[in-house]
């Protein structure tokens, strides 16, 4: 049975902008006429904890959360978080990882070491893995904070999402004065896959 619903898991560190990313994707899925469900994280975890938001769209969606082993795409804003949530990916799914390291408390306090080889390990397990230097690209577009939208561009290209609808969603969801930088970041993200 082929999957009827597209499942995108967005993971990162509280404060990195996963919520905006999921809202852009959901907005586009709504514009495309799909049934959509999005599960968000509010509250305590937003203070620098591990956060996950989930976007599901298709003809009819029941659960707001993705079944482990079902995600089509895992979009990770941070390397360690990609590994933490890897079980959610379907066997032939795709991982998009921002080449960004944020040390969690146990690493900061010296209790454990940050696993440096984590991306290699993921790449060995999941051949379809893309490591993206989104923070740097966003910096070139004018603001490192638009890294999440660079990743949205990558994701849109991979998932074949319609560009005009994506741009509409970005315009309606980012603050007025950041629209240009974010549209540029989106475009650069798309280009990575096109090239």
């Amino acid at each position: 049975m082929s999957k009827q619903v597209t499942d995108i898991l967005i993971v990162g560190v509280g404060g990195q902008g996963t919520l905006l990313t999921s809202r852009i994707l959901a907005d586009v899925a709504v514009q495309m006429g799909y049934d959509v469900k999005v599960s968000e994280v509010h509250g305590m975890a937003q203070r620098g904890g591990s956060v996950v938001t989930q976007v599901r769209y298709g003809k009819k969606v029941y659960s707001p959360i993705i079944k482990k082993g079902d995600a089509d795409i895992l979009l990770a804003f941070e390397k360690l978080e990609a590994a933490r949530w890897l079980d959610y990916l379907k066997p032939d799914g795709m991982v998009i990882i921002n080449d960004e390291r944020v040390d969690p408390l146990p690493v900061m306090s010296g209790k454990v070491k940050y696993p440096e080889d984590i991306v290699d390990k993921i790449q060995k397990l999941i051949p379809n893995t893309r490591l993206i230097n989104a923070t740097e690209i966003a910096g070139q577009c004018g603001n490192t904070r638009a890294a999440n939208v660079v990743l949205v561009g990558v994701l849109a290209a991979v998932a074949g999402l319609p560009v005009k609808e994506m741009e509409n969603a970005i315009r309606s969801l980012v603050p007025e004065k950041a629209i240009d930088i974010n549209l540029k970041a989106f475009e650069e993200g798309m280009k990575i896959i096109a090239n």
Binding site: S39, E40, H42, G43, M44, P64, K67, R84, D87, P104
Partner: protein, 580 residues
């Protein structure tokens, strides 16, 4: 028009469409966005109450006054409001009242995972449980109708997953609701024993009528499928069942108290195996068992945590994707932590340095309990710090109190810290209480409270003066310090701990996320002076990192906000201002 809404926004919309004009709440994840969304409608009154008991009491007044009223709180908030709730169940309503209890299975942001369907059962009031945002809107409207029809407060029980999931919602028109007339009715609203005895009779009659209603209500429905398994479920777990077991027969309960006994019995006769899938307590299962019906539930599914589609697959189909790649165990955890520039950080660093016993409380500052700050001995519930400190002192003596503080946030102090502070004065305790006044309710997303001087709609209002307040209840030793000036803080602590009298220290500095102007100061670590002692790393700030190979600290300029805390901690003056 259809659009995406989180469950909480849909509830607010439902109340608005039902003509509700009053809404009250004290913030608490996952309930907060209900009343903050409602406050945005025109021609309504919404408030952040000082705590949940007050929220419900204001709600009760509004209902008796004839308005449809929405009251929202997180699950543990209902404990605070339980006293008025149980008796309001006796008096019943005038204008309809819906009380939303937002439970938190899995404890995403809570100190326990109690199941508040139990309150519905004990208070003998109807409990509705929606399974997506559309139902949240509709059930809320229905709740107001039932409230008035059956003369009862109605509880709507939601969970984090409903509160914070966006699903498609078709909104409706706002219904014109004329506020009900008010007529004095002491036998109904004055709960003296004689009146309450009569009302209790009404409560018992009402629950029987509600049981009858449950049998035919469209809130409960059967979706027939394969009859080898029949699942009884409600709320978001219904969606998980649809996902994981699309083939089975389902009895979906929209009203989980009281239960439709006959409907359930009939369903049980038509299926081979009857299973209840409910998160947390076996509230439905135990009632079904009490009718002598054979049913499975908690022997299959956990009493703990949040369910998921894969959990249901695992239990009933034996499919597991748990740690397929064997990566999970080598990944360090990522607990939440205090933000760079957070005024709470220096407080916990100092308390730990002074080796004090810390009776803690709930708020962002509870993160000071985590390693490496390790700055808290106890955390129970909102407001408990001050009473706990008093109890410690009475058990162990005044000398112990010299090495102990109670730590409480400003919003939490107003919520439930004032009465225990009165206890300290009244019963001659000597404890030192540290109020962390960051001018907001940070943990739940920066809501106003009485001491911020602004209302839920950001309108200026009379500001509660914490210094005058604590003085007026008899605290003679009151100091206000800046928690980013560690010397100032430490001196104040030493001074007040040394007194055999109660004291209050107010550590005053706005939350780093709302502070109007960043300091603008940049710092760097001088690699010549840094000895790699890692003292600065022990404040658990993402603004400063340690390079394992070079064995020195460096600033992380992306995160550092220039609060100036770490330079005060460095013993070698290695952290310096970057001149630009």
């Amino acid at each position: 028009m259809k659009r995406l809404m989180i469950g909480n926004e849909a509830i607010a919309r439902g109340a608005y469409e039902a003509g509700a004009t009053v809404a009250t709440a004290y913030p608490g994840t996952p309930s907060t966005e209900i009343v903050s969304s409602f406050a945005k409608f025109d021609d309504v009154y919404a408030e952040w109450s000082p705590n949940e008991k007050v929220a419900l009491e204001v709600g009760i007044g509004a209902s008796i006054g004839g308005a449809r009223t929405l009251v929202a709180m997180k699950h543990v908030g209902v404990n605070v409001a339980a006293d008025p709730l149980y008796t309001f169940a006796y008096t019943g309503v005038n204008g309809g009242l819906v009380l939303v209890s937002a439970d938190d299975p899995g404890m995403h942001s809570s100190q326990n995972e109690q199941d508040n369907r139990g309150y519905g059962k004990f208070a003998k009031i109807p409990v509705l449980e929606p399974s997506d945002s559309q139902e949240a809107l509709e059930f809320c409207k229905k709740g107001f109708e039932l409230s008035e029809e059956f003369d009862t407060p109605v509880m709507m029980r939601i969970t984090t997953r409903l509160a914070h999931s966006q699903t498609m919602v078709e909104t409706g028109e706002k219904q014109e609701y004329e506020i009900k007339g008010y007529k004095k009715n002491a036998p109904k609203y004055v709960m003296l024993p004689a009146n309450a005895r009569a009302r209790h009779v009404e409560v018992e009659k009402r629950i029987l009528k509600l049981k009858e209603y449950a049998e035919s209500s469209e809130l409960n429905r059967i979706e027939w499928g394969d009859t080898s398994i029949g699942v009884i479920t409600s709320g978001v777990p219904y969606q998980y069942v649809k996902e994981a077991l699309p083939e089975v027969s389902i009895l979906k309960l929209g009203m989980v108290n009281p239960l439709p006994e006959n409907m359930i019995k009939e369903f049980s006769h038509k299926v081979e195996r009857l299973i209840v899938i409910e998160e947390l307590e076996p509230v439905i299962e135990e009632q079904i068992k009490s009718w002598g019906v054979k049913v499975e539930g908690k022997e299959l599914f956990s009493l703990l945590g949040e369910y998921s589609p894969e959990l249901i697959e695992e239990v009933l189909k034996g499919i597991s994707n748990e740690d397929r790649y064997g990566l999970v165990k080598e990944i360090p955890g990522r607990p939440p932590l205090l933000c760079p520039g957070c005024p709470h950080r220096g407080v916990f660093y100092t308390l730990r340095k002074m080796r004090l016993m810390v009776a803690g409380d709930i708020g962002c500052y509870t993160l000071g309990a985590l390693s490496p700050l390790d700055g808290m001995d106890t955390t129970i519930c909102m407001g408990a710090s001050i009473g706990t400190a008093m109890g410690m002192e009475k058990a162990r003596g005044e000398e112990f109190a010299e090495k102990m503080v109670a730590v409480i946030g400003d919003s939490t102090f107003v919520h439930s810290g004032i009465t225990p502070l009165i206890d300290i004065v009244y019963n001659q305790g000597t404890s030192t209480v540290l109020i962390l006044d960051n001018d907001t309710t940070a943990m739940t997303g920066h809501q106003e409270h009485p001491a911020t001087g602004k209302t839920i709609t950001s309108q200026p209002t009379r500001k509660l003066d914490l210094v005058e307040l604590v003085k007026s209840i008899g605290i003679e030793n009151v100091q206000v310090v800046d928690p980013l000036k560690l010397d100032e803080l430490q001196n104040a602590l030493k001074e007040e701990l040394g007194k055999r009298e109660p004291s209050v220290i107010i550590a005053k500095r706005p939350c780093a996320l709302i502070a109007s102007k960043p300091s603008g100061v940049r710092y760097y670590v001088d690699p010549e002076l840094c000895t790699g002692c890692k003292l600065c790393i022990r404040i658990g700030c993402t603004g400063i990192n340690f390079l394992d190979e070079e064995k020195i600290a460096v600033m992380n300029d992306n995160n550092c906000v220039g609060c100036g805390l770490c330079p005060q901690i460095c013993k070698f003056d290695a952290i310096k201002v970057l001149e630009v």
